[in-house]
């Protein structure tokens, strides 16, 4: 079974530029999560999708971050414009269902450096 795929693996941009990350979850997984993990901290949930609908985006900085999951499969997370404090690893995870206690499968993440 293929795992969660993320790209790119690394990205360096200047502040005020825009950037997009892509995630392909495990086939058949209904729930998709995006997390931000700053060095030395645990992952912080940014947004959760159930199929192609948003379940929770309460911690997504909506003035600069946006995410979509078209057709309930792949997802993209965009930052525009980026700030220095956005430097972090962006993790995508998927699980078969939401809220019933199934494990989440994580991708390797995209390491973003904003200079």
């Amino acid at each position: 079974e293929a795992g969660v795929a993320q790209s790119p693996r690394y990205k360096i941009i200047e502040k005020r530029q825009s950037v997009a990350f892509w995630c392909n979850p495990i086939s058949g997984h209904a729930t998709l999560y995006w997390y931000q993990q700053i060095l030395g901290q645990g992952p912080k949930l940014l947004i959760q999708f159930q199929n192609n609908g948003v379940v929770d985006d309460s911690q997504l900085p909506k003035d600069r971050f946006s995410a979509e999951r078209l057709k309930g499969v792949d997802s993209t997370l965009k930052i525009q414009p980026a700030k220095l404090e956005d430097s972090a690893v962006y993790l995508c995870a998927s699980s078969p269902e939401q809220g019933i206690g199934t494990e989440a499968f994580f991708g390797q993440g995209t390491r973003l450096t904003v200079v």
């Binding site: 901290q41 645990g42 995870a93 939401q98 809220g99 206690g101 989440a104 499968f105 390797q108």
Partner: protein, 107 residues
């Protein structure tokens, strides 16, 4: 909002000993709590899930307890091995992760 804290940032133990990690939380009553392992440069990997009506869960050399009155979970690695060296994360459902405890097992 919910808050989750894990004990000391680092834990150094001798091979063969038991590592005990603590996870405390406030302002939330999770239906379940999860533990993950994270190696440098990798995404977290699921280890164990324990539900609010369960007191203890075991998987091979791992054991998790869950005390909803104390709002605390303990994670034990018995007969530790150098390969167990990693950062271990506690999570309230999928919503909130602790900062993790880095375990180093000395041969």
């Amino acid at each position: 909002s919910q808050k989750i804290e894990q004990n000391s940032e680092a834990l150094n133990i001798q091979e063969g000993k038991t590592a005990t990690l603590t996870c405390n939380y406030t302002n939330y009553s999770p239906a379940y709590l999860q533990w993950y392992r994270q190696d440098p440069g990798r995404g977290p990997v699921f280890l164990l899930l324990i539900r609010e009506n369960e007191k203890e869960k075991r998987k091979e050399r791992l054991k998790v307890t869950f005390d909803t009155t104390l709002k605390q979970s303990l994670f034990h690695i018995t007969a530790s091995q150098p390969a167990d060296s990693a950062t271990y994360l506690c999570a309230l459902e999928e919503l909130s992760f602790g900062a993790g405890t880095t375990v180093t097992v000395r041969a």
